[in-house]
Amino acid sequence: MTLLEVENLSVTYSPRDSAAVRAVDKVDFGIEEGEFVGLLGESGCGKSTLGHAILRLLEKPAAITGGSITFDGRDITHLDEDELRPLRWADLSTVFQSSMNSLNPVITVREQFADTFAAHPEAAGDRPDVDARAGELLEMVSLGRDVLRRYPHELSGGMKQRVALALALALRPRFVLLDEPTTGLDVVVQRDILDRLRELQRKLGFAVLFISHDLGTVMEMADRVMVMYAGEIVEDQPAGDMIESQLHPYSAGLLGSYADPRDEVVQVAFVPGRPPDLSREHAGCLFEPRCPVSVDACRTEHPELLPAGRGQARCLLVEQSPDDGALLRDVAPTDRLGGVFSADSEPRARGAADTEPVMVVDGVGKTYRTKRGVRTTTTRAVDDVSFALRPGRVSALVGQSGSGKTTIARLITGVERPSSGTIRFKDTRVDTLRRRAMRRYRRHVQLVFQDPFSALNPTRTIAYALGRPLRNHLGMTGEQARQRAAELLETVGLSPAEQYLDKLPGQLSGGQRQRVVIARALAPQPEVIVADEPISMLDVSIRAEIVELLDRLVRERGIAMLYITHDLLSARLLADEVMVLNQGVMVEHGPTLEVIGQARDAYTRRLLAAIPRPGRSRESWPDEPPNEAERVPAGS
């Protein structure tokens, strides 16, 4: 029978000083007992709002404005808090998006379990044996029983996430909502946790609604996939069918973001543009402005969610074609996509491998000393690393969290000094620069940050952010700087620039902000750019766009780039050579295809295995130890 039935559900945000936004619009779906359903969509399409509505966790200014939610035959749309309490966690539980912060920091893991049991005597029994049951739950998520005695700060991010998952399952709920449960974790750790989750779900038989923007992962995990766009469900299909043929052009665009980095020719696609403004009425199909296959009718007629294939789709083209979306199926996949970025096995037409390097890193090491009382511990963050950066070429630096990637970026940019070895920029020794010389040096070496949300000052306009380096490093006047800032925005694809100059960062989307961050790095005309995981915080669907932009800039401007990442697909697309770092030591180094194609290092292989490949079974690496490479912070 249907466990969760959502009918015609609408959620509206009504902030005080702006127009109401209908974040979820007449959504209709059901989840069967024990079913694993994926909910996909890019940031801001309403998927988290829908999840919160189902759990009845919406807070002002958001409210359910129509429709109903029925759980196990009981209408929970208008239950008050007291009536909801026995249901929550016992029947409906969740793993929060920021589960890092969902554990109480002042009590041990055991007490968190004890609290959960005590709050639900009807589900857990009057005097549950906390140690036995919590221990069992922890073992279920591959953690040792000794974790029970630990405090949350003594656990790594991945371990906290496992504890949160074990807590969610503590009362044997029948429905678990997972809202991007692995965001912010190392990719390999993510993969381990998700694999474990899928196994548990099969074993225990709870139903799951899995919310994610990562289509590849969802397709691998879920039985059925729903795609959400601009507050509406646009496609609902069994996962297997969806891999074969996507009914809606948007799903096709999302699926285009995946490829195997070991292939001879790697091609990824993206959906240009942004979701529509939901505070206004739209006449036609909401996806029409971004749709590569739209027809005239799409502009005026709003499509309904109608049966197609073995699922449902909301698209006029699917509706009109007699044979369930055959019209779409005839179009070649890449034609259906807005933008395509590809890399083949040929060497790239940019800087040659033997040009004079602009930056030479020679035998560099960095040791951190931490004093704790009388004891001094030394940590070797980077050990004897050597490489060179050449104009017009991209070197990718790959490694897991804590492998020393970011330390190398800090050494190159002069934020820190190496303990041994030399770093040379042209004829300058970077490691011995004094303050004033350092400021001059930074004109030549610029940084692209990982998090576009903290890299721009929220109180300063885009024109100001771009104007500062121009005025400081190039000595421009205010008017010249503004003009150049506009040119820079056009360069990074934010056009017309006049629209963006006087905006504050809060008015831009994540992808647009990252473009501004890149424009700011370009402003002083640097020879070297260090990009520290520039796409890891962005939606999967727009990552290829940023990679394409970086590639074009390197090619056109002859910039030498150090690209730090743990995403091998983007490294394959962008980089000429790949360096793999493990615990501060460089373990692999060579041309991209060689390193990725014939990965020798264990970590490189695990990274490869972690890349989702919808439709293909993932290879496992039998020579791998199954445990994740997580370290408990020292001093626990």
Binding site: K60, S454, N472, H473, S495
Partner: protein
Amino acid sequence: MTTPSSTSMTAPAPTGAGDTEGVRVAAIAAGRSNRLPGWFVILWRNGKCRFGLWMLLAFVLVAVFAPVIAPYGPRVDDFGLSEGPTGAHWLGTTARGEDVFSQIVYGARTSLLVGTVAGVLSTIVATAVGLTAGYLQGTVDEVLSFFINLGLVVPVLPLMITLAAYSPVKGLGLIIAVITVTGWAFGARIKRAQIITLRTRDYVTAAKFAGDGTARIIAYEIAPNMMSLIVVGFMGSALGAIGAEAGLAFLGLGDPATTSWGTMLNQASMGGAMTTGQWAWLVAPGIVLALLITAFTLINFGVDALSNPHLRED
């Protein structure tokens, strides 16, 4: 098959930035013209705070238009001594023959002046010390933190009384100086804590890479992000300053030449207002002082929302 069409009037961007952008931009542009500062909008939204702001506005108007509102000058003593409330003198006259109502009206000037000036001064000192200590850290921080801690542990009331009593000059300037010296430390401590979390933000690093110097980074990158905290600090010190002025004046440590509610209370109690049945002389300054402090307290409900987004009513 058609190509993606544009819904906006502007040309679509070559690589990406979507067609839906144009309309949004227009909406934002319309909303941005004649915009009040964000912190004021948040204060105004809170019902209690809005009431407090109206009350404060009333006091400000009374202070500004005192010569128009008050029937006599505050120091004019041509009236009968120690009269009770009459039609000519609504709140009676003092033991020296001055009109109490006129003194109340002029007293608003003193209270608001002390509140504003001492509030601004201690906010400036607190911000300068707190930001410098927090941003530079190291030895500078150690030294400045020592003075902040000193300011926090020294008992304020005895220090104020001592300073005011033994100072060779009397006057409003002295009162303001005393209040500033004793009131800046708490704000400095809070601002120092805040800048320590802000100084490691990526945009501060980005400003360094853009070639900005330390002073510019503090003033242009960090300070705007602390605006709500600075406003909170100002409201707190202004309220404290008004109370402190009244307290010092009541204890007889104020400037006898200025008319303030504190000195009125002092004179009323010295002049035996209760024994002569002049309740209005004693009660009126107390009530207006309480009303002004109530106004600030109500505004503080909104100020709380400034520093803690969870308390915002939207």
